[in-house]
């Protein structure tokens, strides 16, 4: 090939039609060029057109959209000039696509191997046994467990991180010259993300494929990209070498993105030193799903022996990866899941375990805010109806008084009053989350349980919600339980932090204790897995490395649950004796309690 660039996009314009049938651009004036083997990152918030651009490289425009102008060249193929048949020849063959959610991209009724070799068979590139041998080789390169037999499993038997890597294998089986990765790690936990990123980097880049990496996460992109294109509302705001964009951003928008990616520390308000009982106390709560057995444990235990307190106006952060039981704590407090054992005390008084028996006043004082505002707000109701209901229900406010209060609430959450009659479907993600929050505030609560309230939002929008919450807390003195999988967010806004692993409390302490080592090994893994915004971090990070080999585990039910993944595990101790809970000595008032055999000295990284 004689061209200087392998992939070249010039003047690309994609249009869609509105309800009246008029065409309007969704992306325009897109130019970039890539040399063979380079990685280009497309960065932007949702709606910035990044996926739309990535899909045009496959010659695809989503229903309703059309590629209206410009040229796209991949190698010797001019994508915009090809007909459907020629495009089909190209896709999954010379150009491969890795989608965000591997879990929904696999057919649940066929084995992994069937699906991974499919692109090679469809394009008649090799025979089935050859293709399978190649797939196994790829599984090994992607650091998948049991590479020889994993192909015979079905998608539901594998984790999200494994499926994401298998999808990479599917994409790479034809040795494509261009790979498009569309937010491939966004849906994963940080601890899984680091493993998947390592695998991608090793395999995609070392095979010399050119790649386009679509993401909203600058830190992730910093690990992968040679070039970065920053998009906003379908236009390029900034483009250049990765190093330059990340460290010397020229545009204001890029600077905003960078700032939002690093959560600012929001100082805790002065605590009112009343020696009263804590607002909320949880004592020895064990909870789960299914019938409660003879040993007092439910059939599927989720939480074990949880003890915590939240002070008036205080903020407790609860972090852990998906499945760690963090949302279950909120459900137990709200009464949606009665605990098997233990008590929840509000203001020193025990709350009835389930919904039954709680007084309206008790309901009012604790409000729940769910992660996904799309499903947490009833699509059949308008904003006004949603906010008026708690007012009528708790305070009996009706008519004009209720309307005035709704106006106040809209002001509090900084939404224009004109949205009151809007249906939920007509709001943006950030606006919905504000309404979600306002509904909780309408009850005039003492404690808000926030379950991943910013996870589904873009970083910039999420940062605005966090600012809003910090303000509300300062103005209204409401205590918050902030559930998140993102330790940097939690460290930025919470007074106290609880780390959950598989339903047990592995570390709990004030925020200061989470600023520097020593940590519990799991906390250490969580903190170490958060990508840093510099190239080379992925290679240097010690997080997610293989733990040392140890002998078989004993039978004791209270053995450390983190044992199988722990990098600091000790043979003959961790796999035999249950770990003790003890304070990790730091300066006074900064010590956290951990559930681990290790003490201070052995947990400081060497």
């Amino acid at each position: 090939m004689t061209q200087a660039f392998h992939v070249e996009v010039k003047d690309l314009r994609v249009t869609a039609r509105n309800a009246r049938g008029e065409a309007f651009p969704i992306v325009s004036d897109i130019d970039f060029a890539l040399k063979r083997g380079e990685v280009l990152a497309l960065i932007g918030e949702s709606g910035s057109g990044k996926t739309t651009i990535a899909l045009t490289l496959l010659g695809h425009a989503r229903p309703g959209a059309t590629i209206a102008g410009g040229s796209i060249r991949v190698g010797d193929a001019d994508i915009t000039q090809l007909d459907a048949k020629a495009l089909a020849q190209l896709r999954g063959n010379r150009i491969a696509y890795i989608a965000q959610s591997a879990a929904s991209a696999f057919n649940p009724s066929r084995t992994i191997m069937d699906q991974v070799v499919e692109p090679a068979l469809i394009h008649d590139l090799m025979l089935r046994d050859k293709a399978e041998a190649k797939a196994v080789e790829l599984f090994r390169a992607l650091a998948l467990p049991f590479p020889d037999t994993i192909g015979s499993r079905y998608p539901h038997q594998l984790s999200g991180g494994q499926l994401q890597r298998l999808m990479a294998a599917m994409a790479l089986i034809t040795d494509p010259e261009l790979v498009i990765l569309d937010e491939p790690t966004t849906a994963l936990d940080v601890t899984t993300q680091i493993e998947v990123l390592r695998a991608f980097k090793a395999v995609v880049l070392e095979r010399g494929a050119t790649a386009i990496y679509v993401s909203h996460d600058l830190a992730v992109v910093a690990q992968m990209a040679d070039q970065i294109v920053v998009l906003q509302q379908g236009r390029i705001r900034e483009a250049g070498a990765a190093d330059q964009v990340l460290h010397r951003p020229a545009g204001d928008y890029t600077k905003t993105l960078m700032a939002a990616a690093r959560p600012a520390i929001r100082p805790a308000p002065m605590r009112i030193d009343v020696p009263a009982a804590p607002l909320l106390e949880i004592r020895g709560v064990t909870a789960g799903y299914g019938r409660i057995g003879k040993d007092g444990l439910p059939r599927v235990p989720v939480l074990r022996d949880i003890n915590l307190t939240i002070e008036r106006g205080g903020t407790l952060g609860v972090i852990g990866e998906s499945g760690s039981g963090k949302s279950t704590i909120a459900r137990v407090i709200a009464g949606l899941l009665p605990p098997a054992t233990g008590q929840v005390l509000l203001d020193g008084e025990p709350l009835p375990p389930g919904l039954k028996g709680r007084s309206r006043e008790q309901f009012r004082r604790v409000q729940l805010v769910f992660q996904n505002a799309d499903t947490a707000l009833n699509p059949a109701h308008s904003v006004g109806q949603i906010l008026e209901r708690p007012l009528a229900f708790y305070a009996g406010l009706k008519g004009n008084a209720a309307h005035m209060r709704v106006l106040e609430l809209m002001d509090l959450i900084r939404l224009p009053v004109s949205l009151i009659d809007r249906n939920i479907g007509g709001l943006s993600g950030g606006q919905k989350q504000r309404v979600n929050l306002a509904r909780a505030l309408a009850a005039d609560p003492q404690l808000i349980l926030c379950d991943e309230v910013t996870s589904a939002l873009d970083t910039v929008v999420g940062a605005a919600i966090l600012d809003l919450m910090a303000d509300l807390r300062r103005e209204l003195g409401i205590a918050t339980m902030f559930i998140s999988h993102d330790i940097s967010t939690v460290r930025a806004i919470c007074d106290d932090i609880l780390v959950l692993y598989s339903g047990t409390m592995v570390e709990m302490g004030p925020r200061a204790a989470f600023q520097s080592a020593p940590f519990h090994p799991y906390t250490d893994l969580l903190i170490g897995s958060v990508p840093e915004m510099r190239a080379g971090w992925l290679e240097e990070s010690h997080a997610g490395r293989k733990p040392p080999l140890i002998g078989a585990s004993g039978e004791h039910p209270d053995l450390c649950r983190f044992l199988p993944r722990c990098a600091a595990r000790v043979d003959g101790l961790c796999n035999v004796t249950p770990p003790p809970r003890h304070p990790l000595g730091k300066a006074d008032g900064m010590s956290s309690h951990i559930l681990c055999h290790h003490g201070d000295e052995s947990l400081i990284p060497s």
Binding site: F363, P379, H381, P390
Partner: protein
């Protein structure tokens, strides 16, 4: 309200407008038709049977020489009113029970669902035959039969919808707010299942028209000299060979009525004034 309906009608796709026109036509026919009917329903007015269209008898005459147009206008009233009332009764009962089951927990849900399974296992035609044989054919009985026959089907669909919705976060939020079951069922769940339920209503309506026509065809439905659209088809069956208007007209009437109802309901489900299944 009126202005909103008109605006809503304008927003309908073409198929919806056609459906709306057909439904309105039959509603008007059911309401004022008998007043417009040129002859009394049971009067023998033509000299010929199975007469074609003429200025005196627009739709010809039937097998006894009665005016088909007059009988059709009377028949439409029976069919539309009976089927609409029965479909409404069946849907309302089924949905109310389904909501009770969905918010009532297993203790309410299990017995109710098993009872409905029992009802659904009774063949509808046999059930109607037995009841008609026992109590004699009357309009209230026909209404009741049609309603009871179609409650379990609606219950099944409504329950499946409602149980899914009880898992939604907004219902969980309402529960955690301390809301009672009635509020959850009516304010949180019901509005979000109304579109599939409307589609189901259309289906039930059509089934009931067919059930009533079937019963009339067997001579167990509306009794002579009155007739619903189904009886009109049955009594003129001997005219089928010669393609008499007397049998074509009521058959076309049934078809346009049922097709119209379904076109309209499908269109409402799609346009749904912004809350349909658009993502």
């Amino acid at each position: 309200m009126m202005a909103r309906s008109i605006k809503g009608a304008k927003a309908l796709p073409l198929s919806g407008k056609v459906g709306l026109a057909l439904v309105l036509f039959w509603l008007v026919a059911a309401l004022v038709g008998p007043m417009l009917a040129p002859y009394p329903v049971g009067a023998f007015v033509a000299y010929d049977v199975f007469d074609g269209s003429s200025s005196a008898h627009w739709l010809g005459s039937d097998y006894l020489g009665r005016d088909v147009l007059s009988r059709l206008l009377w028949g439409a009233r029976y069919t539309v009113a009976l089927a609409a009332a029965a479909a409404f009764l069946a849907s309302a009962t089924g949905t109310a029970l389904a909501l009770t089951a969905a918010v009532g927990g297993a203790k309410v849900d299990e017995p109710l669902s098993r009872f409905m399974d029992m009802l659904i296992s009774i063949p509808s035609k046999i059930f109607s035959l037995v009841l008609v044989a026992a109590f004699g054919s009357s309009l209230p009985l026909l209404l009741l039969i049609a309603a009871i026959t179609y409650v379990p089907g609606n219950y099944r669909i409504a329950r499946a919808l409602a149980v899914n919705l009880t898992q939604m976060d907004y219902v969980q939020v309402a529960r955690a707010r301390g809301e009672g079951r009635l509020h959850i069922a009516i304010a949180e769940i019901l509005p979000n299942m109304i579109h599939p339920l409307l589609a189901d209503f259309g289906l039930r309506f059509v089934f009931i028209v067919l059930l009533l026509s079937g019963l009339s065809f067997l001579g167990l439905g509306v009794q002579p000299p009155d007739a619903d659209l189904g009886s009109l088809v049955r009594e003129n069956i001997s005219g089928l060979g010669e393609g008499a208007l007397a049998i074509l007209a009521p058959a076309i009437a049934i078809a346009t009525l049922t097709v119209g109802v379904n076109l309209l309901i499908d269109a409402i489900g799609v346009s749904g004034t912004g809350r349909g299944k658009r993502k």
